[in-house]
Symmetry: D2
Subunit: 247 residues, 4 copies
Amino acid sequence: MIRVTIWNEHVHERREKTVAQLYPDGMHGAIADGLRRELGDQVAIRIATLDEPQHGLTSDVLAETDVMTWWGHDGHDRVDDAVVDRVHERVLQGMGIVVLHSGHHSKIFRRLMGTTCHLRWRSDPGGERELIWTVNPAHPIAAGVPQPIVIPRQEMYGEFFDIPQPDELVFISSFAGGEVFRGGCCFYRGAGRVFYFSPGDQEFPVYHQPEVQRVIANSVRWCASTTPANDVAVGRQHNAQRDWFVR
Amino acid sequence: MIRVTIWNEHVHERREKTVAQLYPDGMHGAIADGLRRELGDQVAIRIATLDEPQHGLTSDVLAETDVMTWWGHDGHDRVDDAVVDRVHERVLQGMGIVVLHSGHHSKIFRRLMGTTCHLRWRSDPGGERELIWTVNPAHPIAAGVPQPIVIPRQEMYGEFFDIPQPDELVFISSFAGGEVFRGGCCFYRGAGRVFYFSPGDQEFPVYHQPEVQRVIANSVRWCASTTPANDVAVGRQHNAQRDWFVR
Amino acid sequence: MIRVTIWNEHVHERREKTVAQLYPDGMHGAIADGLRRELGDQVAIRIATLDEPQHGLTSDVLAETDVMTWWGHDGHDRVDDAVVDRVHERVLQGMGIVVLHSGHHSKIFRRLMGTTCHLRWRSDPGGERELIWTVNPAHPIAAGVPQPIVIPRQEMYGEFFDIPQPDELVFISSFAGGEVFRGGCCFYRGAGRVFYFSPGDQEFPVYHQPEVQRVIANSVRWCASTTPANDVAVGRQHNAQRDWFVR
Amino acid sequence: MIRVTIWNEHVHERREKTVAQLYPDGMHGAIADGLRRELGDQVAIRIATLDEPQHGLTSDVLAETDVMTWWGHDGHDRVDDAVVDRVHERVLQGMGIVVLHSGHHSKIFRRLMGTTCHLRWRSDPGGERELIWTVNPAHPIAAGVPQPIVIPRQEMYGEFFDIPQPDELVFISSFAGGEVFRGGCCFYRGAGRVFYFSPGDQEFPVYHQPEVQRVIANSVRWCASTTPANDVAVGRQHNAQRDWFVR
């Protein structure tokens, strides 16, 4: 059983009519539907949003979460630093996190990466075709997805994407305009796993698309595939037997 | 169910009395015992050795193998190139391979690495203490092993070890003489996974040690954790729909 | 002073009229012109081709070469295995090698990679636009090249490209047809450096293009930036003082 | 000419008599001596310390710095966050940084890594022998250093060291007590280069040792080997021609 917390700032869906029509139950609703369809009773899903106290991410919630997904955009700055600290610490202790689309600029992703996470962006109201190519075909996150995945209309994200070199690069996208983007990237941080997946603007029904849902489900499963660490990664601990400290 | 083929050249055990006493059923016997104890009925085990026709590694056997383990030393040169070609192709198509100890100089490991795989070595009849430190504590291959693993007597293998930088470095050993060695290294090649694990000289009862058996079991499971590739990695294939070729 | 050997099979230029018109002095001629323009008297250039005895790659030539460039296609199978062994050994000892375009299927590149090096390919007589995006902007190989480089007409090479994950990924291409390709990849092997650069079909004047010439010059310089190894990578050597062997 | 700023908190040398005797001119003095001996007039050296206004790291100083070295321990918490922000931004824009010893817990290193940077530590007043083994012999940072470097007395730092997997691992240390440590690690962040080098406790004359000075000099040169980025990594910038934004 994987305990998943789907975090969504839930701003655009309540403010913009076009987004509300695409995602009447919020983008988190579509993401939850996809996880349920792909993983069935292998997952227990919880939803948390920006407006809740502590953004719904109390210590208790985090302690009971194996993997989080994170969607944010308009509200990045409104996420409390203390909550970011807590999520960060929990990732390093072994919780997985799947950061989606505009989450590239979230405080938590920048904290984990140590870089600006800036990228190239082009404003284009109608969107354009994105092709998602697998460059690591036997990676569990690519299991059962077509080569390539075609997203009919999507917002362009392009290189240079200012991240550390991914530990595993799974997907590279191209856009109709000719740009490319490392849109599926795995990182190991402490005892936790991080997956960044770029599809998913609020203006397009991307999270209803089965192939995208499959990738998210695969990545949740991949993030949950760690095992309890055999050495401490966090905290000061004294091993009296050998007089070792972690510091 | 993971179908494992344990390959052992089975030379030293039949030629040297001291080795025969340590490993009356061959080193493959001790390795098989460990896999059974750790993985129970999750594994189906087959043994193959140098003296069998085609070294026991026919196309049929390989087709029915998910993960191989490889122990060789004295007989590296007697391994037929055609068999090496076959194993190599099968790894790239998705079979995992766990290369043990002196297997660093086997034809198959050198083929997969593309380097000499030379290392530093010191002759020392009595062996010396090796400590195996985990540098990636949440890696599935380190699950449930102590920090560090202590091997009372072992042959020294030291740096520089001429391999490509591992995709994931799990263990680093130190020896009583002060040398260090990257003794637990993961590599991805094609659709297959490769793990090199250095403990295991024929002169010492290393493969009877439960912690070592656990690492081998963990690595077999890790090697089997690939998923069917969503794109072809091997062979020429024509996709008529888009007029693509793999070449 | 960097001593460069430009190796070209020199088959298409002598056999096909259209290629001969694009490259009257051979592709090696255009590559040499680019190196001279970019690096001036920092380079000493030697040409070697398939038809020469030992393909022009004697032990003496290799001993006097700091970096090779390699272009092959039609004649891959005619390259003698003994010469491949020699080049391979020399790379591991510290010689750099820049493998160009269809050289992805050369014996030497496959030997260094340990994989099939297959890729996706589409036949298209007229070629199509390739955009080469830098994903590592401060890498010396990307110095002074536009973002992106535009190649008006080029043969499509696409993913999945069956190589080990590059140690450093510098360029990703997109094609007008929507495919992507990891077309600028760095690998470290032994004491040597390897750069694969995909542009350059014989049907198009790619090697006359200044931006492409700059990348090749940058990569030659990068390949030459190793320093003498402080430990042996090749050969058996006995250190009497500590009774160490390399094996 | 490489413009180097040697940053030292300069606390222990002024507070503890034993340290003052080892480093009468501060550890920065010994580090500066080493750089001058190894690099001569290839470097211009500036010193900055914790007690100076803005810790000596004004925007002007950073703008004129190609590579920083950072030694801190007791005063980590006293380093102003605004200064850390500024150094961080400057690294991502291309300034190199060599983080020394207890600097593993500095704010700037933790910011760049995104992890706790905790490590194993054993209190041992007299210190113990450290051997520094090169695992990447042709790396420029290992140029001209013995295999291994012997440090007669040093404080033990051991694994697990909670850092992202290094982009290039150059050195691994062993200690007389049997522990190992990834003590020479390269990271690329934005347009900048980061090198962590573990030797150098204030209680021992490590920074006077010529081999250690050589590694620091090599790493300064390596950090300065970037080239101006060919794409923006920091800041919002609008490219009117293609209507691109960096965000």
